[in-house]
C-alpha cells in the first residue's frame, strides 16, 4: 500500500509500532504534493521545512519513549481561513495575500497539543463564499477525479487534497455545506459538527452564527477521532457549547438494527441528477438491509432554507468583512488621496466579485427600512426550520439525504450566481437548524465521479450519526480512488 493512501488509524498504528517514521511519512506526502499539486492546485502554501521539523521532533520524542498525542506525526492540511501563527493565512483572498497571523486558532492549538504535522494550507473559495473554489484569488482547485471539474467548495482544497492523497486528513469549515459538498464531489468523508462543538476562535468568520470547523477524512472513524481532538468548550468563543463533551466515536461500531431513519420527501422532490438519485435510493435500501427502520417523512420548511440562508449569511459576512479596510493588515491600494478613497479602492481591488456581491446583499438586507422585511424575517424562518428539525428528531435518530443534487460539475459551468447557490440546497438546512451532518461516499457515476449521501442527526448527537455512517461505510464498500 502506498504510504499516502493511509488513513489516520492506519498511519498512527504503523508509527506507533515504529514500522514507519513520521519523517518518512511526511516526506512521502511532500513528494506526493510535488507530483500532483500542478494538476490539482489544492494548496495555497506548503510548509515543507516546518512539516519535516515537526516530524523529526515527533520521531525524537518517540525514540525517547515520551508520551505522544493522538495525531502524533500525522500530516495534516488546514483550510486557509484558519489562523496559523507565522504562516500565511489568506482565506484565498487578495485582501490577505500577505497576511501572517500572530496567533494560532484554537483548533490549531488543539492539533499541536496532539503533535500533528502541518503540511500545508488549503485553497478555498474567497472567504469561504462559493461552492466550487472558483472564487479563490489563487486559482481554481481541480477535482482529482476529473481535473476539468470543480472539487466543490468552499473547502474545495481541503477535499481535493485528501482525495488526491496529499494529506491524511484536512480541516475545512462549513457554513452552508462547505465541508460536505466538496467531500461529496471528491469522494471523502466530510463532517459538519453541531454549532458550538468546535471553537471558532481563529477561524476567519464568514457567517458567525452558522460557521463550524469540520474534518475531511478518508474514513468515518478518522472523522470521529479528529472531532474528538478539536471539540470542546473554549472560553475565547462565547458561542462554544458548555457541556460534558462525549468521547466521539464511542459505540460507533455497534450495529444499527432498529435505528430510526427519516427520509424527508422534500429532498426527493427537487431536481436531482438521476445517478445521484439512484445512489441515494440504493443507500436507503442498504439502511433497510442493515435493520434500520426507514420511513418517509416531511420537512415542510425545506423550501425556505436557502433563501433564509442567503439573507442571514450575507448580512453577517458584510459586517464580518468590514474590518478589511487596508488600515492594519493585508492588502492596501496604492491609489488614494484621502481616507474614503483608500477604503474604496482597497476594498474594490482586494475583494473578488462574489465577495462583493454578498457584501452588497448583506448591507442591503440590514439597511434601515429593509431590516424587518429581510433579516428579521430570515431569523424567524430560521426558528421555524429549527422547530421542524426538532419535531423530526423526536421521531427519528437520523435523517438521510443526498449531499448535493449533482456530482462535480465542470469548471466554469455555473453561469449565474443562482445556479451556484442551488448547489447548497441539501446542505444549508443543517446549518440553519444548527444540527450536525456527515457526508459519506455512496458510489460513483458512470462517468466515474463520486456521489455521497448525508446523514443528519440532532444537535450534539454526533455519536448516533457516526454509528449510522460507520455502518453505512462498511456496507457500501466504497473503494474507488481517483487516478492522477
Amino acid at each position: 500500500m502506498e504510504l499516502t493512501a493511509l488513513n489516520i488509524v492506519q498511519a498512527a498504528e504503523l508509527l506507533a509500532k515504529k514500522e514507519l517514521s513520521s519523517t518518512e511519512l511526511t516526506q512521502a506526502y511532500l513528494d506526493r504534493i510535488e507530483k500532483v499539486e500542478p494538476k490539482v492546485n489544492a494548496l495555497v502554501t506548503t510548509c515543507a521545512e516546518d512539516a519535516l521539523e515537526s516530524a523529526r521532533h515527533v520521531d525524537e520524542k518517540r525514540a525517547k519513549g515520551e508520551a505522544l498525542g493522538r495525531l502524533a506525526g500525522i500530516p495534516t492540511i488546514i483550510k486557509d481561513n484558519m489562523c496559523t501563527k507565522g504562516i500565511l493565512s489568506t482565506a484565498s483572498s487578495k485582501m490577505l495575500y500577505n497576511y501572517k497571523p500572530v496567533y494560532d486558532a484554537t483548533v490549531i492549538e488543539k492539533l499541536k497539543a496532539q503533535d500533528y504535522v502541518l503540511l500545508a494550507k488549503a485553497n478555498m473559495d474567497e472567504f469561504a463564499m462559493g461552492s466550487s473554489t472558483e472564487t479563490s484569488y489563487f486559482g481554481v482547485t481541480k477535482n482529482p477525479w476529473d481535473t476539468s471539474r470543480v472539487p466543490g467548495g468552499s473547502s474545495g482544497g481541503s477535499a481535493a487534497c485528501v482525495a488526491a492523497d496529499e494529506s491524511v486528513f484536512s480541516l475545512g469549515s462549513d457554513t452552508g455545506g462547505s465541508v460536505r459538498q466538496p467531500a461529496a464531489f471528491c469522494g471523502v468523508v466530510g463532517l459538519k459538527p453541531t454549532y458550538g462543538t468546535v471553537s471558532r476562535f481563529g477561524l476567519m468568520a464568514f457567517a458567525s452564527s452558522l460557521d463550524q470547523i469540520g474534518p475531511l477524512t478518508k474514513t468515518v472513524e478518522d472523522s470521529a477521532l479528529v472531532l474528538d481532538v478539536i471539540s470542546g468548550n473554549d472560553k475565547k468563543d462565547s458561542t462554544s457549547a458548555i457541556m460534558e463533551y462525549p468521547h466521539y466515536g464511542e459505540g460507533m461500531k455497534k450495529d444499527i438494527k432498529g435505528l430510526k431513519v427519516g427520509i424527508p420527501k422534500e429532498y426527493l422532490e427537487q431536481e436531482i441528477d438521476p445517478e445521484v438519485r439512484q445512489s441515494y435510493l440504493d443507500a436507503i435500501k442498504l439502511f433497510e438491509d442493515m435493520g434500520a427502520i426507514v420511513e418517509e417523512t416531511s420537512l415542510p420548511t425545506f423550501d425556505y432554507a436557502l433563501s433564509a440562508y442567503y439573507v442571514i449569511a450575507s448580512a453577517e459576512v458584510a459586517s464580518n468583512l468590514s474590518r478589511f479596510d487596508g488600515i492594519r493588515y493585508g492588502y492596501r491600494t496604492e491609489h488614494y488621496s484621502d481616507l474614503k478613497e483608500m477604503y474604496k479602492n482597497t476594498r474594490s481591488e482586494g475583494f473578488g466579485d462574489e465577495t462583493k456581491r454578498r457584501i452588497m446583499l448583506g448591507n442591503y438586507v440590514l439597511s434601515s427600512g429593509y431590516y424587518d422585511a429581510y433579516y428579521l424575517k430570515a431569523l424567524k424562518v430560521k426558528t421555524l426550520i429549527k422547530n421542524d428539525f426538532d419535531r423530526l428528531f423526536s421521531e427519528y435518530d437520523i435523517l438521510l439525504s443526498p449531499t448535493a443534487p449533482t456530482p462535480a460539475f465542470k469548471i466554469g459551468a455555473k453561469a449565474t450566481p443562482l445556479e451556484m447557490y442551488v448547489n447548497d440546497l441539501f446542505t444549508v438546512p443543517v446549518n440553519i437548524a444548527g444540527v450536525t451532518a456527515i457526508s459519506v461516499p455512496s458510489g460513483v457515476t458512470g462517468e466515474g465521479l463520486p456521489v455521497s449521501v448525508q446523514m443528519i442527526a440532532k444537535a450534539f448527537d454526533e455519536n448516533t450519526m457516526f454509528r449510522a455512517a460507520w455502518n453505512f461505510e462498511q456496507a457500501v464498500k466504497f473503494d474507488k480512488k481517483p487516478t492522477l
Binding site: 481561513n81 497576511y99 486558532a105 472560553k235 468590514s322 440590514l366
Partner: protein
C-alpha cells in the same frame, strides 16, 4: 416672545474595569500608544469578543444608582461604520434591548428640585484614537475596547443649571459605586447635548441640534447658553433651525456645524452573532443592589437628620465619597460635626484646590485631624493657630502636637505677661488711644492685633480682648 429651552443628554462614562470589555487587555489611561492591545481588540481576522462580566455588573450598578429598571434580558448589537479608530468597522453596542431602562433622578438647581428621567443605559466598547502629525495620521488602539456606558436622558432639562446638577449627581454616584472617576477633562465622562427651544406654553418640541465636544461641566453650561440664544435668534429672525450635529468650540465660545464624516449614516444594526444574550436573574440583580453602598442623596439626607448639618454642608460633604468618608471617620472619633464640616468645606477644600489634589488624596488622617480640633477646643492652641497647624499637617504629614511643639505654638494664657504687653503697647501708641477715647471703638482692634503680633499669634485671643478693653477704658 418668551422661550423655553428643552435639553436632553447622552452621557458616555468610561467604566473603570480592570480589563477591556471584550478581551483581557488592561483598561488603563495614559500608556504608550498601542501597548494595551491584543489580536482581539485589534480585530485581527478570526478573533472573537468575550463579554467582560465586570462591565455588565458595573452597568447594572450604575443603572440601579439612577433608579433604573434592570431587564432580565438584554443583548449586544453591531453598529456599523467605517473609521480608522474602529478596528472592526463596527462597534459592539446595544440597540433595542439595553442593559438598563427607565430610571429617574432628582436634582436640585435654582433652589428647586427637578426630576430627570433616564431613558436607558447601554454598554458598548470605546474606539481608539487618531493622532495627526503633519500630513500623516496614526491610530492608537489602547482605548479601543475600553468599556463605556451611555446614559440617555429624557428631554427633561430646562436650563444649564439643571444640567450641571445632573452631571454632578451622575459623577458623584459613579464615584460612590466605584464604576468610574468621571473626569470629563480626561475623557472618562463625555457628554452630548440635544437642545431645542420653544415658546413658553407650547407642547411640541422645537427642532433640535446635537452638541458635541463638551469637555467639562462648565463648558456644558456655556454651550447650552450659547446654543439656546442662537436658536432663539434664528427663530426671531424668521429662520429655521436645521437639525444637525454641532461642535462646541470652548475657546471661541460658539458652536459650528460638524462636517459630516459620511452622508446620513445608516448603522445597519443587527444582533452580534459572536455573543450570547445577557440574562440577569432577579436574584443576581437583587444581589448587586444589596451590595451597593449608601448613595449621595441618602447620605445627604442622613447628614441633615443625624448630624444636624445645614443642607448646604451636607451637599458639599457628600459630593465625593472620599470627603464623606473623611467626615464620617472624623465624627466617629470626635463628635463635633459642625466644626469638622467647617474645616472640610473651607480649609481642606482650599488646600486641595491649591495643590491640585482630589478628595481621594486627602493627606491627613481623621485621627490627626480630630487631635488638632481637640487641641483648639482644649485651648492648647488658639483657632487661628489651628488653621496654621492644619496647613502644616497637610503639607508635611506631621502630627499636630509635634508641629505645635516644634514651632512653639502653644497658646499663651499668662495674664500677667499679656497685661504687661498691653500696657506697653498702649503707652507707645497715644494716637489710637485718643481715637478710642474719642469714641472710635474700632481702634481697639489695632491693640489686639499688636498684642497678637508680639506673641506671634499665640496669645489667647479672649484674654487679649478682655485686657485691652479694660486697659483702654482705664487709660
Amino acid at each position: 416672545m418668551k422661550y423655553e429651552t428643552v435639553i436632553g443628554l447622552e452621557v458616555h462614562v468610561e467604566m473603570a474595569t480592570e480589563t477591556k470589555i471584550f478581551c483581557a487587555c488592561k483598561n488603563e489611561f495614559g500608556s504608550q500608544p498601542n501597548t494595551n492591545v491584543c489580536p482581539v481588540c485589534l480585530s485581527m481576522p478570526g478573533t472573537l469578543p468575550v463579554l467582560n462580566e465586570q462591565a455588565v455588573e458595573y452597568g447594572v450598578r450604575a443603572g440601579l444608582s439612577l433608579n433604573c429598571e434592570i431587564p432580565n434580558y438584554s443583548k449586544l448589537d453591531r453598529k456599523g461604520y467605517f473609521y480608522p479608530d474602529l478596528a472592526k468597522a463596527y462597534q459592539i453596542s446595544q440597540y433595542d434591548f439595553p442593559l438598563c431602562s427607565r430610571g429617574e433622578v432628582e436634582v436640585e438647581a435654582d433652589g428647586a428640585k427637578h426630576k430627570i428621567g433616564i431613558t436607558r443605559i447601554h454598554i458598548e466598547e470605546d474606539a481608539g484614537k487618531l493622532i495627526h502629525q503633519g500630513t500623516e495620521s496614526f491610530v492608537d488602539y489602547n482605548r479601543g475596547g475600553v468599556p463605556l456606558m451611555e446614559i440617555v436622558t429624557e428631554p427633561d432639562f430646562r436650563n444649564a443649571a439643571q444640567v450641571k446638577a445632573f452631571l454632578d449627581t451622575v459623577r458623584a454616584n459613579m464615584e460612590y459605586i466605584g464604576v468610574s472617576d468621571c473626569k470629563m477633562e480626561e475623557g472618562s465622562m463625555r457628554c452630548d447635548i440635544n437642545i431645542s427651544v420653544r415658546p413658553v406654553g407650547e407642547t411640541e418640541y422645537g427642532t433640535r441640534t446635537e452638541l458635541k465636544n463638551i469637555n467639562s461641566i462648565s463648558a456644558a453650561q456655556r454651550a447650552i447658553e450659547y446654543e439656546a440664544r442662537r436658536h432663539i435668534e434664528v427663530i426671531e429672525d424668521g429662520g429655521k433651525i436645521v437639525q444637525e450635529t454641532r461642535r462646541w468650540d470652548d475657546v471661541k465660545g460658539k458652536t459650528f456645524p460638524m462636517r459630516d464624516k459620511e452622508e446620513a449614516h445608516d448603522y445597519r444594526y443587527f444582533p452580534d452573532p459572536d455573543l450570547v444574550p445577557v440574562y440577569l436573574t432577579d436574584e443576581r440583580i437583587s444581589k448587586i443592589k444589596a451590595a451597593l453602598p449608601e448613595l449621595p442623596a441618602a447620605k445627604r439626607e442622613r447628614y441633615v437628620n443625624e448630624f444636624n448639618l445645614p443642607e448646604y454642608d451636607a451637599g458639599i460633604l457628600t459630593m465625593s465619597k472620599y470627603t464623606a468618608k473623611f467626615f464620617e471617620d472624623s465624627v466617629a472619633i470626635y463628635n463635633e460635626p459642625k466644626a469638622i464640616s467647617n474645616y472640610i468645606m473651607v480649609d481642606l477644600a482650599r488646600l486641595l484646590k491649591e495643590n491640585n489634589m482630589e478628595a481621594k488624596d486627602i493627606p491627613i488622617s481623621p485621627k490627626d485631624f480630630t487631635d488638632l480640633l481637640k487641641l483648639v477646643s482644649d485651648g492648647i492652641i488658639n483657632s487661628s493657630v489651628g488653621k496654621q497647624v492644619f496647613e502644616e499637617m497637610f503639607k508635611t504629614g506631621k502630627k499636630p502636637a509635634q508641629i505645635v511643639e516644634e514651632k512653639d505654638l502653644k497658646q499663651n494664657d499668662n495674664a500677667d505677661e499679656i497685661l504687661a504687653l498691653v500696657q506697653k503697647i498702649i503707652a507707645d501708641n497715644p494716637k489710637p488711644v485718643a481715637d478710642y477715647k474719642g469714641g472710635n471703638k474700632k481702634a481697639m482692634t489695632f491693640f489686639v492685633g499688636q498684642v497678637m503680633k508680639a506673641t506671634k499669634g499665640k496669645a489667647n485671643p479672649k484674654t487679649v480682648n478682655e485686657l485691652v478693653k479694660a486697659e483702654l477704658d482705664k487709660a
